[in-house]
Amino acid sequence: MKIAVCVKEVPDTTAEKRIDPSTFRLVRDEGDRMLNEFDKYAVEEAVRLKEAGTADEVILVSLGPEKAVESLRQGLAMGADRLVLVSDAAAAGSDYLGTARALAKAIEETGAELVLLGSESTDARSGVLAATLGEVSGRTWVTSANSLAVNGGSITVERQSDDGIDTVEAPLPAVVSVTKAINEPRYPSLKGIMGAKKKPQDVKSLGDIGLGAGDVGEAGAKTKVVGIETPPARTAGQVVKDEGNGAQVIFDYLVEKKLI
Protein backbone atom coordinates (compact mmCIF):
# COMPACT_ATOMS: atom_id res chain seq x y z
CA MET A 1 0.00 0.00 0.00
CA LYS A 2 1.12 3.52 -0.77
CA ILE A 3 0.51 6.42 1.58
CA ALA A 4 0.38 10.06 0.48
CA VAL A 5 0.99 12.70 3.13
CA CYS A 6 -0.13 16.28 2.47
CA VAL A 7 2.52 18.64 3.74
CA LYS A 8 2.65 22.40 3.64
CA GLU A 9 5.35 24.97 4.01
CA VAL A 10 4.27 27.71 6.41
CA PRO A 11 5.80 30.98 7.52
CA ASP A 12 6.97 31.28 11.10
CA THR A 13 3.69 32.45 12.60
CA THR A 14 5.47 33.94 15.57
CA ALA A 15 7.44 36.35 13.41
CA GLU A 16 6.06 39.65 12.12
CA LYS A 17 4.01 39.02 9.03
CA ARG A 18 3.95 41.22 6.00
CA ILE A 19 1.02 41.23 3.68
CA ASP A 20 1.22 42.77 0.25
CA PRO A 21 -1.42 45.51 0.44
CA SER A 22 -2.17 45.33 -3.28
CA THR A 23 -2.74 41.58 -3.58
CA PHE A 24 -3.69 40.85 0.05
CA ARG A 25 -1.34 37.90 -0.11
CA LEU A 26 1.30 36.94 2.36
CA VAL A 27 4.76 38.00 1.27
CA ARG A 28 6.26 34.55 1.14
CA ASP A 29 9.84 35.37 0.37
CA GLU A 30 10.59 36.92 3.73
CA GLY A 31 11.59 35.43 7.02
CA ASP A 32 11.71 31.86 8.18
CA ARG A 33 9.66 29.23 6.49
CA MET A 34 9.20 25.76 7.81
CA LEU A 35 7.34 22.48 7.50
CA ASN A 36 3.96 22.93 9.20
CA GLU A 37 4.41 21.55 12.72
CA PHE A 38 1.12 19.58 12.60
CA ASP A 39 2.19 17.81 9.42
CA LYS A 40 5.13 16.15 11.17
CA TYR A 41 2.64 13.94 13.01
CA ALA A 42 1.16 12.79 9.70
CA VAL A 43 4.61 12.11 8.23
CA GLU A 44 5.67 10.21 11.37
CA GLU A 45 2.55 8.06 11.29
CA ALA A 46 3.10 7.18 7.62
CA VAL A 47 6.77 6.36 8.16
CA ARG A 48 5.85 4.12 11.10
CA LEU A 49 3.32 2.27 8.91
CA LYS A 50 6.10 1.74 6.39
CA GLU A 51 8.50 0.52 9.05
CA ALA A 52 5.83 -1.89 10.27
CA GLY A 53 5.54 -3.33 6.76
CA THR A 54 1.97 -2.06 6.27
CA ALA A 55 2.98 0.48 3.66
CA ASP A 56 5.63 0.18 0.97
CA GLU A 57 5.93 3.80 -0.11
CA VAL A 58 5.37 7.17 1.55
CA ILE A 59 4.89 10.09 -0.85
CA LEU A 60 4.78 13.70 0.32
CA VAL A 61 2.36 15.83 -1.70
CA SER A 62 2.17 19.59 -1.56
CA LEU A 63 0.92 22.70 -3.29
CA GLY A 64 3.12 25.75 -2.92
CA PRO A 65 5.98 27.78 -4.30
CA GLU A 66 8.97 25.94 -5.75
CA LYS A 67 11.19 27.09 -2.93
CA ALA A 68 9.02 25.14 -0.49
CA VAL A 69 11.06 22.07 -1.42
CA GLU A 70 13.66 23.15 1.11
CA SER A 71 11.24 23.08 4.04
CA LEU A 72 9.39 20.00 2.85
CA ARG A 73 12.64 18.05 2.57
CA GLN A 74 12.42 17.66 6.33
CA GLY A 75 9.66 15.12 5.72
CA LEU A 76 12.02 13.18 3.47
CA ALA A 77 14.67 13.34 6.18
CA MET A 78 12.14 11.80 8.58
CA GLY A 79 11.79 8.84 6.23
CA ALA A 80 9.30 9.61 3.45
CA ASP A 81 10.41 8.27 0.05
CA ARG A 82 9.70 11.10 -2.33
CA LEU A 83 8.06 14.47 -2.80
CA VAL A 84 5.58 15.71 -5.37
CA LEU A 85 5.17 19.48 -5.27
CA VAL A 86 2.58 21.17 -7.44
CA SER A 87 3.91 24.61 -8.18
CA ASP A 88 2.49 27.03 -10.68
CA ALA A 89 2.07 30.78 -10.89
CA ALA A 90 -1.57 30.17 -11.81
CA ALA A 91 -2.12 28.30 -8.53
CA ALA A 92 -1.39 31.37 -6.42
CA GLY A 93 -4.38 32.61 -4.48
CA SER A 94 -6.07 29.20 -4.35
CA ASP A 95 -8.84 28.76 -1.80
CA TYR A 96 -9.50 25.47 0.03
CA LEU A 97 -11.35 24.01 -2.89
CA GLY A 98 -8.62 24.86 -5.39
CA THR A 99 -5.96 23.51 -3.05
CA ALA A 100 -7.90 20.30 -2.58
CA ARG A 101 -8.42 19.89 -6.33
CA ALA A 102 -4.71 20.21 -7.04
CA LEU A 103 -3.72 17.88 -4.20
CA ALA A 104 -6.36 15.34 -5.25
CA LYS A 105 -4.97 15.20 -8.80
CA ALA A 106 -1.40 14.83 -7.61
CA ILE A 107 -2.41 12.12 -5.14
CA GLU A 108 -4.35 10.24 -7.81
CA GLU A 109 -1.19 9.93 -9.88
CA THR A 110 0.71 8.39 -6.98
CA GLY A 111 -1.82 5.57 -6.60
CA ALA A 112 -1.94 6.07 -2.83
CA GLU A 113 -4.78 4.33 -1.02
CA LEU A 114 -4.37 6.18 2.24
CA VAL A 115 -3.93 9.95 2.50
CA LEU A 116 -2.79 11.55 5.74
CA LEU A 117 -2.92 15.23 6.68
CA GLY A 118 -2.07 17.32 9.69
CA SER A 119 -5.03 18.62 11.66
CA GLU A 120 -4.35 22.27 10.82
CA SER A 121 -1.82 24.50 9.17
CA THR A 122 -0.34 27.01 11.58
CA ASP A 123 -0.89 29.90 9.15
CA ALA A 124 -4.43 29.20 7.95
CA ARG A 125 -5.53 27.47 11.16
CA SER A 126 -8.71 26.32 9.54
CA GLY A 127 -8.41 22.57 9.72
CA VAL A 128 -10.79 22.15 6.81
CA LEU A 129 -8.63 20.59 4.14
CA ALA A 130 -9.08 16.92 5.08
CA ALA A 131 -12.86 17.09 4.66
CA THR A 132 -12.54 19.19 1.51
CA LEU A 133 -10.04 16.75 0.00
CA GLY A 134 -12.13 13.74 1.02
CA GLU A 135 -15.16 15.17 -0.70
CA VAL A 136 -13.27 16.30 -3.82
CA SER A 137 -11.51 12.96 -4.27
CA GLY A 138 -14.55 10.82 -3.45
CA ARG A 139 -12.76 9.01 -0.64
CA THR A 140 -14.08 8.25 2.81
CA TRP A 141 -12.65 10.78 5.22
CA VAL A 142 -12.10 10.84 8.97
CA THR A 143 -10.75 13.85 10.85
CA SER A 144 -8.83 14.25 14.13
CA ALA A 145 -7.34 10.77 14.51
CA ASN A 146 -5.68 10.14 17.88
CA SER A 147 -4.71 6.67 16.66
CA LEU A 148 -4.77 4.81 13.37
CA ALA A 149 -4.65 1.11 12.52
CA VAL A 150 -4.76 -0.39 9.03
CA ASN A 151 -6.39 -3.80 8.78
CA GLY A 152 -6.47 -5.11 5.21
CA GLY A 153 -8.94 -3.04 3.26
CA SER A 154 -10.06 -0.84 6.10
CA ILE A 155 -8.85 1.43 8.85
CA THR A 156 -9.74 1.88 12.49
CA VAL A 157 -9.37 5.34 13.94
CA GLU A 158 -9.87 6.68 17.41
CA ARG A 159 -11.05 10.20 16.77
CA GLN A 160 -11.32 13.23 18.98
CA SER A 161 -14.87 14.55 18.64
CA ASP A 162 -16.55 17.49 20.36
CA ASP A 163 -17.90 15.19 23.04
CA GLY A 164 -15.20 12.59 23.59
CA ILE A 165 -13.27 9.93 21.76
CA ASP A 166 -15.01 7.74 19.18
CA THR A 167 -13.80 4.60 17.44
CA VAL A 168 -14.44 4.83 13.70
CA GLU A 169 -14.08 2.14 11.05
CA ALA A 170 -13.80 3.13 7.42
CA PRO A 171 -12.94 1.39 4.16
CA LEU A 172 -9.90 2.29 2.08
CA PRO A 173 -9.24 4.39 0.07
CA ALA A 174 -9.46 7.02 2.77
CA VAL A 175 -8.34 10.48 3.85
CA VAL A 176 -7.40 10.92 7.51
CA SER A 177 -6.24 13.98 9.43
CA VAL A 178 -4.23 13.27 12.58
CA THR A 179 -3.91 15.10 15.90
CA LYS A 180 -0.84 15.68 18.01
CA ALA A 181 -1.88 12.86 20.32
CA ILE A 182 -1.15 10.23 17.66
CA ASN A 183 2.63 9.98 18.07
CA GLU A 184 5.83 11.81 18.89
CA PRO A 185 7.52 12.83 15.61
CA ARG A 186 11.15 11.85 15.34
CA TYR A 187 14.01 14.26 14.80
CA PRO A 188 15.66 13.43 11.49
CA SER A 189 19.04 11.76 11.88
CA LEU A 190 22.11 13.20 10.19
CA LYS A 191 21.98 10.25 7.80
CA GLY A 192 18.33 11.04 7.11
CA ILE A 193 19.12 14.66 6.38
CA MET A 194 21.98 13.76 4.04
CA GLY A 195 19.86 11.09 2.29
CA ALA A 196 16.90 13.43 1.83
CA LYS A 197 18.68 15.50 -0.79
CA LYS A 198 19.01 12.45 -3.04
CA LYS A 199 15.37 11.38 -2.84
CA PRO A 200 13.12 12.24 -5.82
CA GLN A 201 11.60 15.72 -5.59
CA ASP A 202 9.26 16.32 -8.52
CA VAL A 203 7.90 19.76 -9.18
CA LYS A 204 4.80 19.68 -11.36
CA SER A 205 2.84 22.41 -13.08
CA LEU A 206 -0.94 22.50 -13.19
CA GLY A 207 -0.76 21.34 -16.79
CA ASP A 208 1.30 18.32 -15.70
CA ILE A 209 -1.52 17.14 -13.45
CA GLY A 210 -4.26 17.99 -15.94
CA LEU A 211 -5.69 21.09 -14.32
CA GLY A 212 -6.23 24.51 -15.79
CA ALA A 213 -6.64 27.95 -14.32
CA GLY A 214 -10.27 28.21 -13.32
CA ASP A 215 -9.98 24.99 -11.31
CA VAL A 216 -7.43 26.45 -8.94
CA GLY A 217 -5.69 29.72 -8.16
CA GLU A 218 -7.27 33.10 -7.83
CA ALA A 219 -9.28 32.58 -11.02
CA GLY A 220 -11.05 29.56 -9.53
CA ALA A 221 -11.40 30.85 -5.99
CA LYS A 222 -14.90 31.20 -4.56
CA THR A 223 -13.73 33.45 -1.76
CA LYS A 224 -11.91 36.76 -2.04
CA VAL A 225 -10.07 38.92 0.43
CA VAL A 226 -11.40 42.48 0.32
CA GLY A 227 -9.40 44.08 3.11
CA ILE A 228 -6.72 43.64 5.73
CA GLU A 229 -6.30 45.48 8.96
CA THR A 230 -3.55 45.29 11.51
CA PRO A 231 -5.13 45.89 14.89
CA PRO A 232 -3.00 47.62 17.47
CA ALA A 233 -0.92 45.08 19.39
CA ARG A 234 -2.02 44.31 22.93
CA THR A 235 -0.22 46.44 25.45
CA ALA A 236 0.63 45.93 29.10
CA GLY A 237 -2.21 46.65 31.48
CA GLN A 238 -2.01 47.13 35.18
CA VAL A 239 0.63 45.04 36.99
CA VAL A 240 0.49 44.74 40.78
CA LYS A 241 2.69 42.93 43.26
CA ASP A 242 0.97 40.47 45.53
CA GLU A 243 1.21 41.62 49.10
CA GLY A 244 -1.34 39.20 50.38
CA ASN A 245 -4.10 40.98 48.46
CA GLY A 246 -3.39 39.57 44.96
CA ALA A 247 -6.49 37.37 44.92
CA GLN A 248 -8.65 40.26 46.10
CA VAL A 249 -7.28 42.53 43.36
CA ILE A 250 -8.19 39.96 40.71
CA PHE A 251 -11.59 39.32 42.27
CA ASP A 252 -12.45 43.02 42.39
CA TYR A 253 -11.36 43.38 38.75
CA LEU A 254 -13.60 40.47 37.70
CA VAL A 255 -16.56 42.01 39.53
CA GLU A 256 -15.89 45.47 38.12
CA LYS A 257 -15.67 44.14 34.56
CA LYS A 258 -18.79 42.01 35.14
CA LEU A 259 -16.82 38.88 34.25
CA ILE A 260 -18.37 37.04 37.19
Binding site: S161, I165, D166, K224, A233, R234, L259
Partner: protein, 324 residues
Protein backbone atom coordinates in the same frame (compact mmCIF):
# COMPACT_ATOMS: atom_id res chain seq x y z
CA UNK B 1 -31.37 33.06 -3.63
CA UNK B 2 -33.61 32.78 -0.66
CA UNK B 3 -32.52 33.59 2.81
CA UNK B 4 -30.04 32.38 5.36
CA UNK B 5 -29.61 28.87 6.76
CA UNK B 6 -28.06 28.43 10.20
CA UNK B 7 -26.95 24.91 11.07
CA UNK B 8 -27.98 24.49 14.71
CA UNK B 9 -25.95 21.81 16.40
CA UNK B 10 -27.46 19.73 19.16
CA UNK B 11 -25.49 18.09 21.95
CA UNK B 12 -27.22 15.98 24.56
CA UNK B 13 -30.57 17.66 23.94
CA UNK B 14 -29.21 21.21 24.12
CA UNK B 15 -28.18 23.52 21.35
CA UNK B 16 -24.53 24.46 21.32
CA UNK B 17 -24.09 28.02 22.39
CA UNK B 18 -22.19 28.89 19.21
CA UNK B 19 -25.28 27.89 17.21
CA UNK B 20 -27.44 30.31 19.22
CA UNK B 21 -24.76 33.00 18.88
CA UNK B 22 -24.72 32.49 15.12
CA UNK B 23 -28.50 32.54 14.85
CA UNK B 24 -28.67 35.78 16.86
CA UNK B 25 -26.17 37.39 14.49
CA UNK B 26 -28.00 36.09 11.43
CA UNK B 27 -31.16 37.81 12.69
CA UNK B 28 -29.30 41.14 12.43
CA UNK B 29 -28.06 40.35 8.93
CA UNK B 30 -31.40 39.23 7.58
CA UNK B 31 -32.63 42.68 6.57
CA UNK B 32 -29.62 43.27 4.31
CA UNK B 33 -29.05 39.73 3.06
CA UNK B 34 -32.71 38.93 2.65
CA UNK B 35 -34.86 36.46 4.56
CA UNK B 36 -36.24 34.15 5.58
CA UNK B 37 -34.01 33.03 8.42
CA UNK B 38 -34.07 29.25 8.53
CA UNK B 39 -32.39 26.85 10.94
CA UNK B 40 -31.62 23.16 10.58
CA UNK B 41 -31.59 20.80 13.53
CA UNK B 42 -30.17 17.44 12.53
CA UNK B 43 -29.48 14.65 14.98
CA UNK B 44 -30.52 11.29 16.33
CA UNK B 45 -33.50 10.99 18.66
CA UNK B 46 -33.50 14.77 19.01
CA UNK B 47 -36.04 16.07 21.46
CA UNK B 48 -38.75 18.51 20.55
CA UNK B 49 -36.84 21.70 21.26
CA UNK B 50 -36.47 22.77 17.61
CA UNK B 51 -39.20 25.38 18.06
CA UNK B 52 -37.11 27.06 20.76
CA UNK B 53 -34.93 28.45 17.96
CA UNK B 54 -37.78 30.79 17.10
CA UNK B 55 -36.88 32.79 20.18
CA UNK B 56 -33.48 33.48 18.64
CA UNK B 57 -34.89 34.63 15.33
CA UNK B 58 -35.47 31.51 13.24
CA UNK B 59 -38.66 31.81 11.23
CA UNK B 60 -38.56 28.25 9.99
CA UNK B 61 -36.77 25.25 11.47
CA UNK B 62 -36.08 22.07 9.52
CA UNK B 63 -35.76 18.99 11.71
CA UNK B 64 -33.94 15.90 10.41
CA UNK B 65 -33.81 12.87 12.67
CA UNK B 66 -31.74 9.83 11.79
CA UNK B 67 -29.31 7.60 13.66
CA UNK B 68 -26.50 8.53 11.28
CA UNK B 69 -26.92 12.21 12.18
CA UNK B 70 -25.98 11.58 15.80
CA UNK B 71 -22.56 9.98 15.44
CA UNK B 72 -20.38 13.08 15.37
CA UNK B 73 -19.44 12.25 11.76
CA UNK B 74 -20.24 14.99 9.29
CA UNK B 75 -20.83 13.21 5.97
CA UNK B 76 -24.53 12.33 6.63
CA UNK B 77 -25.19 15.98 7.58
CA UNK B 78 -23.68 17.10 4.30
CA UNK B 79 -26.18 14.94 2.37
CA UNK B 80 -29.08 16.53 4.27
CA UNK B 81 -27.89 20.12 3.85
CA UNK B 82 -26.94 19.69 0.18
CA UNK B 83 -30.48 18.49 -0.54
CA UNK B 84 -32.01 21.42 1.37
CA UNK B 85 -29.77 23.78 -0.56
CA UNK B 86 -31.05 22.30 -3.82
CA UNK B 87 -34.63 22.93 -2.75
CA UNK B 88 -34.23 26.32 -1.06
CA UNK B 89 -31.24 28.01 -2.70
CA UNK B 90 -30.06 29.76 0.48
CA UNK B 91 -27.77 32.70 -0.20
CA UNK B 92 -25.77 32.08 2.98
CA UNK B 93 -25.15 29.02 5.16
CA UNK B 94 -23.70 29.73 8.60
CA UNK B 95 -22.16 27.01 10.74
CA UNK B 96 -20.74 27.16 14.28
CA UNK B 97 -17.04 26.36 14.48
CA UNK B 98 -17.15 23.14 16.49
CA UNK B 99 -15.22 20.05 15.35
CA UNK B 100 -18.39 18.71 13.72
CA UNK B 101 -19.32 22.11 12.29
CA UNK B 102 -15.90 22.50 10.71
CA UNK B 103 -16.20 19.14 8.96
CA UNK B 104 -19.76 19.85 7.81
CA UNK B 105 -18.92 23.27 6.37
CA UNK B 106 -15.76 22.08 4.63
CA UNK B 107 -17.34 19.07 2.96
CA UNK B 108 -20.50 20.98 2.10
CA UNK B 109 -18.53 23.74 0.38
CA UNK B 110 -16.64 21.12 -1.63
CA UNK B 111 -19.85 19.29 -2.53
CA UNK B 112 -21.56 22.47 -3.68
CA UNK B 113 -18.45 23.96 -5.29
CA UNK B 114 -18.99 26.95 -3.03
CA UNK B 115 -16.65 29.22 -1.10
CA UNK B 116 -15.95 28.79 2.59
CA UNK B 117 -14.67 31.48 4.92
CA UNK B 118 -13.59 29.80 8.13
CA UNK B 119 -12.99 31.06 11.64
CA UNK B 120 -15.14 34.20 11.27
CA UNK B 121 -15.10 36.44 14.32
CA UNK B 122 -17.45 38.94 12.73
CA UNK B 123 -20.07 38.88 10.01
CA UNK B 124 -21.50 41.93 8.33
CA UNK B 125 -23.41 42.88 5.20
CA UNK B 126 -21.89 44.69 2.26
CA UNK B 127 -25.07 45.61 0.46
CA UNK B 128 -26.78 42.25 0.09
CA UNK B 129 -23.47 40.38 0.19
CA UNK B 130 -22.06 38.71 3.29
CA UNK B 131 -18.67 39.79 4.60
CA UNK B 132 -16.63 37.77 7.09
CA UNK B 133 -13.75 38.91 9.25
CA UNK B 134 -11.17 36.51 10.60
CA UNK B 135 -7.89 36.80 12.44
CA UNK B 136 -4.82 35.72 10.51
CA UNK B 137 -1.30 34.87 11.61
CA UNK B 138 -2.10 34.45 15.28
CA UNK B 139 -4.30 37.51 15.43
CA UNK B 140 -1.66 39.89 14.07
CA UNK B 141 -3.93 40.78 11.18
CA UNK B 142 -7.65 40.88 10.59
CA UNK B 143 -8.73 39.78 7.15
CA UNK B 144 -12.08 40.74 5.58
CA UNK B 145 -13.33 38.33 2.96
CA UNK B 146 -16.34 37.91 0.71
CA UNK B 147 -17.50 35.29 -1.77
CA UNK B 148 -17.52 34.87 -5.54
CA UNK B 149 -21.00 33.45 -6.04
CA UNK B 150 -23.13 31.49 -3.62
CA UNK B 151 -24.02 29.98 -1.35
CA UNK B 152 -21.81 31.98 0.98
CA UNK B 153 -20.67 29.43 3.56
CA UNK B 154 -19.09 30.69 6.79
CA UNK B 155 -17.76 29.04 9.91
CA UNK B 156 -18.19 31.13 13.04
CA UNK B 157 -15.71 31.11 15.90
CA UNK B 158 -17.40 30.51 19.28
CA UNK B 159 -17.77 33.55 21.57
CA UNK B 160 -17.82 35.98 18.65
CA UNK B 161 -21.43 37.09 19.15
CA UNK B 162 -23.86 37.29 22.04
CA UNK B 163 -26.72 34.80 22.02
CA UNK B 164 -29.81 36.95 22.43
CA UNK B 165 -33.50 36.15 22.33
CA UNK B 166 -35.92 38.21 20.32
CA UNK B 167 -39.05 36.38 21.38
CA UNK B 168 -40.24 35.15 17.99
CA UNK B 169 -41.62 31.77 17.08
CA UNK B 170 -40.77 29.38 14.28
CA UNK B 171 -42.60 27.04 11.99
CA UNK B 172 -41.14 23.55 12.47
CA UNK B 173 -40.87 21.40 9.34
CA UNK B 174 -39.81 17.77 9.53
CA UNK B 175 -37.64 16.55 6.66
CA UNK B 176 -36.86 12.94 5.82
CA UNK B 177 -33.09 12.49 5.66
CA UNK B 178 -31.84 10.75 2.53
CA UNK B 179 -28.36 9.54 3.32
CA UNK B 180 -26.13 8.03 0.65
CA UNK B 181 -24.11 4.83 1.05
CA UNK B 182 -20.93 6.88 0.66
CA UNK B 183 -21.85 9.00 3.66
CA UNK B 184 -22.39 5.84 5.71
CA UNK B 185 -19.06 4.24 4.75
CA UNK B 186 -17.33 5.45 7.92
CA UNK B 187 -18.99 3.96 11.00
CA UNK B 188 -18.68 4.77 14.67
CA UNK B 189 -18.30 1.47 16.52
CA UNK B 190 -17.65 2.77 20.04
CA UNK B 191 -17.94 6.07 21.89
CA UNK B 192 -16.11 7.22 24.98
CA UNK B 193 -17.69 10.46 26.20
CA UNK B 194 -15.47 13.07 27.80
CA UNK B 195 -15.80 13.44 31.56
CA UNK B 196 -19.18 14.95 32.39
CA UNK B 197 -19.05 18.62 33.24
CA UNK B 198 -15.76 19.24 31.44
CA UNK B 199 -16.06 22.24 29.17
CA UNK B 200 -14.44 22.26 25.74
CA UNK B 201 -11.67 24.78 25.28
CA UNK B 202 -12.84 26.37 22.04
CA UNK B 203 -16.39 27.05 23.18
CA UNK B 204 -15.57 28.14 26.72
CA UNK B 205 -16.25 31.77 27.62
CA UNK B 206 -13.73 31.57 30.47
CA UNK B 207 -10.43 29.63 30.42
CA UNK B 208 -8.04 29.10 33.30
CA UNK B 209 -4.67 27.88 32.04
CA UNK B 210 -1.69 26.38 33.81
CA UNK B 211 1.94 26.25 32.79
CA UNK B 212 5.28 24.96 33.95
CA UNK B 213 4.88 27.17 37.03
CA UNK B 214 2.52 24.54 38.42
CA UNK B 215 5.59 22.41 39.02
CA UNK B 216 3.89 19.00 39.02
CA UNK B 217 0.91 17.28 37.38
CA UNK B 218 -1.07 16.98 40.62
CA UNK B 219 -0.92 20.75 41.00
CA UNK B 220 -3.27 21.15 38.05
CA UNK B 221 -5.92 20.53 40.73
CA UNK B 222 -5.30 24.15 41.85
CA UNK B 223 -6.17 25.42 38.38
CA UNK B 224 -9.07 22.98 38.02
CA UNK B 225 -10.60 24.19 41.28
CA UNK B 226 -10.62 27.80 40.10
CA UNK B 227 -11.95 26.70 36.71
CA UNK B 228 -14.78 24.78 38.29
CA UNK B 229 -15.70 27.73 40.54
CA UNK B 230 -15.82 29.99 37.46
CA UNK B 231 -17.52 27.46 35.17
CA UNK B 232 -14.41 27.64 33.03
CA UNK B 233 -12.45 25.26 30.83
CA UNK B 234 -8.85 24.32 31.67
CA UNK B 235 -6.02 25.14 29.29
CA UNK B 236 -2.32 24.37 29.41
CA UNK B 237 0.92 25.64 27.95
CA UNK B 238 2.97 23.40 25.71
CA UNK B 239 5.57 23.03 28.44
CA UNK B 240 2.91 21.54 30.73
CA UNK B 241 1.52 19.30 27.98
CA UNK B 242 4.95 18.10 26.83
CA UNK B 243 5.81 17.25 30.44
CA UNK B 244 2.75 14.99 30.43
CA UNK B 245 0.95 17.04 33.09
CA UNK B 246 -2.16 17.73 31.02
CA UNK B 247 -3.67 16.23 27.82
CA UNK B 248 -2.89 17.46 24.27
CA UNK B 249 -6.41 18.70 23.42
CA UNK B 250 -6.07 21.29 26.19
CA UNK B 251 -2.94 22.92 24.80
CA UNK B 252 -3.29 26.58 23.86
CA UNK B 253 -0.97 28.17 21.34
CA UNK B 254 0.65 27.95 17.95
CA UNK B 255 0.66 24.17 17.98
CA UNK B 256 -2.38 23.85 20.21
CA UNK B 257 -5.76 25.55 20.04
CA UNK B 258 -6.56 29.14 19.22
CA UNK B 259 -9.06 30.46 21.72
CA UNK B 260 -11.00 33.70 22.16
CA UNK B 261 -12.78 33.51 25.51
CA UNK B 262 -14.16 36.55 27.32
CA UNK B 263 -11.65 35.89 30.08
CA UNK B 264 -8.31 34.05 30.05
CA UNK B 265 -6.46 33.54 33.32
CA UNK B 266 -2.84 32.36 32.88
CA UNK B 267 -1.28 30.77 35.96
CA UNK B 268 2.45 30.09 35.94
CA UNK B 269 2.75 30.71 32.20
CA UNK B 270 5.61 32.88 30.94
CA UNK B 271 3.76 34.11 27.85
CA UNK B 272 6.10 32.92 25.09
CA UNK B 273 5.08 34.16 21.65
CA UNK B 274 3.95 30.65 20.65
CA UNK B 275 1.53 30.69 23.57
CA UNK B 276 0.47 34.27 22.92
CA UNK B 277 -0.64 33.64 19.33
CA UNK B 278 -3.17 31.12 20.61
CA UNK B 279 -4.86 33.37 23.16
CA UNK B 280 -4.20 37.02 22.36
CA UNK B 281 -7.67 37.45 20.87
CA UNK B 282 -9.20 36.83 24.32
CA UNK B 283 -11.24 39.83 25.53
CA UNK B 284 -9.54 40.07 28.92
CA UNK B 285 -6.26 38.44 29.95
CA UNK B 286 -5.23 38.09 33.58
CA UNK B 287 -1.80 36.70 34.48
CA UNK B 288 -0.40 35.35 37.73
CA UNK B 289 3.36 34.84 37.65
CA UNK B 290 6.06 35.19 40.26
CA UNK B 291 8.57 36.65 37.81
CA UNK B 292 7.87 40.34 37.27
CA UNK B 293 9.83 40.22 33.99
CA UNK B 294 7.67 37.44 32.51
CA UNK B 295 6.64 38.44 28.96
CA UNK B 296 2.98 37.74 29.74
CA UNK B 297 2.83 40.98 31.73
CA UNK B 298 3.50 42.87 28.49
CA UNK B 299 0.09 41.95 27.11
CA UNK B 300 -2.08 41.02 30.10
CA UNK B 301 -4.84 43.46 31.07
CA UNK B 302 -4.20 42.70 34.71
CA UNK B 303 -1.03 41.08 36.03
CA UNK B 304 -0.32 39.98 39.56
CA UNK B 305 3.29 39.29 40.47
CA UNK B 306 3.22 36.56 43.06
CA UNK B 307 3.05 32.88 43.91
CA UNK B 308 0.14 31.17 42.19
CA UNK B 309 -0.10 28.66 45.05
CA UNK B 310 -0.99 31.56 47.37
CA UNK B 311 -3.19 33.49 45.00
CA UNK B 312 -5.20 30.92 43.06
CA UNK B 313 -6.73 29.07 46.06
CA UNK B 314 -7.70 32.39 47.67
CA UNK B 315 -9.25 33.56 44.44
CA UNK B 316 -11.16 30.28 44.17
CA UNK B 317 -12.58 30.84 47.68
CA UNK B 318 -13.57 34.41 46.86
CA UNK B 319 -15.39 33.30 43.71
CA UNK B 320 -17.14 30.50 45.58
CA UNK B 321 -18.20 32.73 48.45
CA UNK B 322 -19.77 35.19 46.03
CA UNK B 323 -21.83 32.44 44.47
CA UNK B 324 -22.75 30.55 47.60
Amino acid sequence: MAGILVVAENSGGNFRRVSLETLSKARELKDSLGGPLTALVAGSGISGNAGDLGAYGAEKVFVADNEALGTGLAAPHVDVIAKLQGENDFSAILVGGTALGRDIAAALAARLGAGLNSDSIDLSANGSALRARRPAFGGQNLVDAEWNGGPQIALVRPNSFAASESGGSAEVVTVTPEISDAALAAKVTARKPAEAGKIGLEEASIIVSGGRGLGAPENFATVEALASALGAAVGASRAAVDAGWYPHPNQVGQTGKTVSPNLYIACGISGAVQHKVGMQTSDVIIAINKDEDAPIFQFADLGVVGDLFDIVPKLTDLVKSRQG
